[in-house]
């Protein structure tokens, strides 16, 4: 499944049900660029069992503010619309896989 671009408009509908991994990132951030291929790997491995979405904090300051993003990348594991886990900093595929299971 392709990684979804999340905006203030589609965010709530996307995370409402099931497990969604949300990556808060920005184009100017080296560690975020490093996170991207890890998420693609994970997406390929999970084959759509978990939705992965990305929020560009520069485009979506309202979402960044709502979730109190203080540093990027920040990864949220959302379960049925609630934040189940928050990770700050680049996180490897194995750790993320364990968290979404």
């Amino acid at each position: 499944m392709a990684i979804v671009t999340l905006t203030n408009e589609n965010f709530d509908a996307t995370v409402k049900e099931g497990t969604v991994l949300v990556d808060f990132w920005a184009t100017w951030c080296g560690p975020c660029k490093m996170q991207a291929p890890i998420l693609e790997q994970l997406d390929a491995k999970l084959g759509g069992a978990v939705t992965i979405g990305k929020v560009d904090v520069d485009e979506e300051p309202v979402l960044a503010n709502r979730f109190g993003i203080a540093s990027i990348p920040t990864l949220l594991i959302m379960k049925n619309g609630e934040v189940a886990e928050k990770r700050v900093g680049v996180t490897d595929a194995a750790t993320l896989e364990a968290l979404v299971k």
């Binding site: 080296g30 560690p31 291929p37 890890i38 990027i72 900093g89 595929a93």
Partner: protein, 269 residues
């Protein structure tokens, strides 16, 4: 951009490793930060390294020139994190990231320990990367701890996006305070309201640079091949322990390079 080996640090250990790898036909990138604050740079004379009689700055420049002549790719900036991407390692430097089959950490030592409140508020208003997180604090009060030329550039960047920057050197008796997030910093006995504290020292503490790296008493644990506990990551120089001497660093770098070279050759088989 991918190289066979990426080396973090351009001092004697990193340079020795880079040159050895080039002589084994490996592609090499070296992350070099502003050298002014290294202890080598401050040395008035390198007096106990065979064949060399140079000042610290002259010696550092000679290392950089020699690496450039040998086709080493120099990346100016601070390494922020090293991550296993599966087949390669990813190394984030400023607003970019690089890939390499093997990594050699030759980052020297940071003598300072964490500031009061630093570890507690990492990711909650303590940041090590102004270019990454600056935009989240547009128009707000922030503090910057750091005095290198790179820290000054980062301060200019933060001012350019409208941050009100409090400049600190780190020697003011720092305490970072907050609740869920940072709310203020105490420096020189005065409390200042800030939304973020950017700690821009030259080297990020080892435990934050590489997750899962084994270290003991502040030094990276290595075996006699300069291999760390993580396959594909090697270390050399002051960051693996005493004595903090140029000769030992260069020797470490040489061994680490030979080990990294074999590792890369095995991977490419």
């Amino acid at each position: 951009m991918k190289t066979d080996v990426l080396i973090i640090g351009a001092g004697p250990a990193g340079a020795s490793a880079a040159l050895t790898l080039r002589h084994r036909n490996k592609t090499v990138a070296v992350v070099a930060n502003a050298p002014e604050s290294s202890s080598l740079y401050k040395a008035p004379l390198i007096a106990n390294y065979p064949g060399v009689k140079l000042t610290g700055p002259e010696f550092q420049q000679a290392l950089l020139d020699q690496m450039a002549e040998e086709g080493v790719e120099l990346i100016h900036g601070r390494a922020l994190s090293v991550m296993n991407l599966g087949e390669t390692f990813g190394i984030a430097v400023g607003n970019d990231f690089h890939e390499a089959t093997a990594v050699i950490i030759a980052a020297g030592i940071t003598r300072e320990s964490a500031y009061k409140g630093e570890n507690e508020y990492v990711g909650k208003g303590v940041s090590y990367c102004a270019t990454c997180d600056g935009m989240l604090y547009k128009g707000k009060n922030v503090a910057v701890i750091g005095t290198s030329s790179e820290a000054r550039e980062d301060m200019e960047f933060l001012r350019s996006i409208g941050c009100n920057v409090l400049e600190l050197t780190g020697s003011e008796g720092i305490e970072i305070r907050g609740e869920d997030k940072v709310t203020s910093i105490v420096a020189g006995g005065e409390e200042h309201e800030v939304a973020c504290v950017f700690i821009l020292k030259d080297t990020i503490s080892l435990s934050k640079l590489v997750q899962g790296l084994e270290y003991s008493n502040g030094a990276i644990v290595v075996d006699s091949d300069m291999a760390t506990n993580i396959p594909g990551i090697f270390a050399a120089g002051d960051c693996v322990g005493k004595p903090y001497q140029v000769g030992k660093a260069a020797g470490d770098g040489n061994v680490a390079a030979l080990s990294a070279s074999s590792y890369v050759e095995n991977k490419n088989k």
